[in-house]
Amino acid sequence: MEFKNVLLIMQKEVREALKNRWFIIYTVCFSILALLLLFFSYSREEILGVSGFGRTAASLINLVLLFVPLVSLVTGAISISNERENGTLFYLLSHPVERSEVFTGKFLGLLVSIWVSICLGFGLSGIVVGIKGGSLGASKYLLTTLLSLLLAVSLLSIGFIVSVLSKKAAKSIGISVFLWLFFLVFSDLGIMGTTIVMDLGIKPVFVLALLNPTEVFKIAAVLNMSPRFEVLGPVGVYALRSFGRDGTFYLLFSAMILWTVIPIVIGFLAFTLLKKE
């Protein structure tokens, strides 16, 4: 793999993403909503006396759960399939570039673009909190940002797998939206239903939760923010009692890492081995 080619393709992707009006709308919406959440957090702070980054980060978790998976999945899902459909991928690959360079360059380019928009949202809020003098929970805020960035990598990788395996962009978008709904809504309902029907214990429910990257992010982010065990529900209490606070967090963080590494490897191998052009 030649770094020069990876860098060239990555730069092209960033440039295209920055020109993409949907991407701009997403970034602007995410940043504005983050600032609005911050504003409301401060309004409540004046009443409740709670201050700093912690509350802002807690508010941002819900925003991240809604926006980041959707944008990452859809962006990843159209990355290859769209180029395959309109013929630009075929044309690019007819030049002296390896498939591995194309995959890596595109992935990194899109990842940088998504990370920029996430950092912009978190960054603007962070700057406002900093200016207002709230320093409480700065490390938690940074850790929430880091978890959000990891969530983006994970779902972008899953989107890339969908894209590599789809011939049509419309199909890959459909699958990615379904996955978004699945991860955010159906998965929770599925776990609850399975638990009731199969009378599952707490341990299998915790394991099932680890099979969903958005669930892993949610538990890790809440655990990061809250000093109390109860906010995580029975599963969180089980995890904390079994592994301890740090142990649970490392376990969840490792699960997030696995959720980033495994889909990247699968997508990479699928693209480099399956020649669908």
Binding site: K12, T88, S94, H95, P96, E98
Partner: protein, 299 residues
């Protein structure tokens, strides 16, 4: 330079390319001829290393599957319908130039060579079909590769641009470039190709020099012979007697079909019978007729 050896490409149960073998020597221009679905584009994709296949393709000794990158650096490729990223033509040239490791000086040179100067700052989406084709040709030539692979390269060009384009390709061929191209136009094939590889249903069914392709296929040329009206019946009888299927078109014109080698015989027969020939025109087999023959069961 290009060696295609027993290449087979299957899509599930369908063989798009079926045990195809041929060579293209250095400096030679070879045309791939065949109807839609004959397997030309699939074969070109295999040569570009974009599809996995059975058999072996080497470019200058480099296996396109094992040494894909090195092999592709030897090729300049012009697709049938160029599609580009939505960037300015200059940015696209710089992007592919950077991938092929060329400097800005070469980009300047190539822009002038293909006549793209006035359009270089336009977005690719704003370029006409002809300009897109010029851009893809500029990209193909940017690193001065020894092999050109052209997939119906003139399909989007007007008559003037096509003539200029063909002239340029021929000049490049004369400079020693190896050219493999697919085309539906006999005039292009005759103008550029040293050899024609005819494909049908994924197989190579014939290899021929372009000027004898029609004859190899058994196609006849049409001769229109004009004689004075009083001689028309006599002329028709003489030619029929000699075995030519002459048909009277009107009061003074005869139509007959002969092989390319027989063209002078009807004239000799008429002159021998002292029948004055007022005019003569010869119609070579059209590309449509050749393609019909290629598609038909004849070969």
């Amino acid at each position: 330079m290009i060696t295609v050896r027993e290449v087979t490409k299957r899509f599930k149960d369908i063989k798009a390319v079926d045990c195809v073998s041929f060579n293209v020597k250095k400096g030679e221009a070879v045309a791939l001829l065949g109807a839609n679905g004959a397997g030309k584009s699939t074969l070109i994709k295999c040569i570009l290393g974009l599809l996995s296949f059975e058999g072996e393709i080497t470019l200058n000794g480099l296996n396109v599957e094992k040494s894909s990158k090195e092999a592709k650096s030897l090729i300049g490729y012009v697709p049938q319908e160029p599609v580009f990223y939505d960037m300015r033509a200059l940015d696209i040239l710089e992007f592919f130039g950077a991938i092929r490791g060329v400097d800005m000086g070469r980009i300047e040179e190539i822009v002038n060579l293909v006549g793209l100067r006035e359009h270089i700052l336009k977005q690719s989406s704003a370029l006409s079909g002809g300009m897109k084709q010029r851009l893809s040709f500029a990209i193909a030539l940017i690193s001065n590769p020894p092999i050109l692979v052209l997939d119906e390269p003139t399909s989007n060009l007007d008559a003037y641009a096509r003539a200029e384009f063909l002239k340029l390709i021929r000049e490049l061929k004369l400079q020693g470039k190896t050219v493999l191209f697919s085309s539906h136009r006999l005039d292009e094939v005759e103008f550029l190709a040293d050899r024609v590889v005819v494909m049908k249903s994924g197989k190579v069914v014939m290899e021929s020099k372009p000027n004898v392709l029609a004859e190899t296929l058994g196609l006849k040329v049409r001769m229109y012979i004009k004689v004075p009206t009083p001689w028309i019946e006599t002329a028709t009888d003489i030619l029929k007697r000699e075995g030519f299927g002459a048909v009277t078109l009107n009061e003074n014109t005869l139509l007959l079909e002969v092989t390319s080698r027989e063209k002078t015989i009807p004239l000799k027969k008429l002159l021998f019978a002292e029948i004055p020939v007022e005019d003569l025109s010869i119609e070579e087999p059209s590309m449509e007729r050749i393609m019909q023959e290629v598609q038909g069961d004849g070969i």
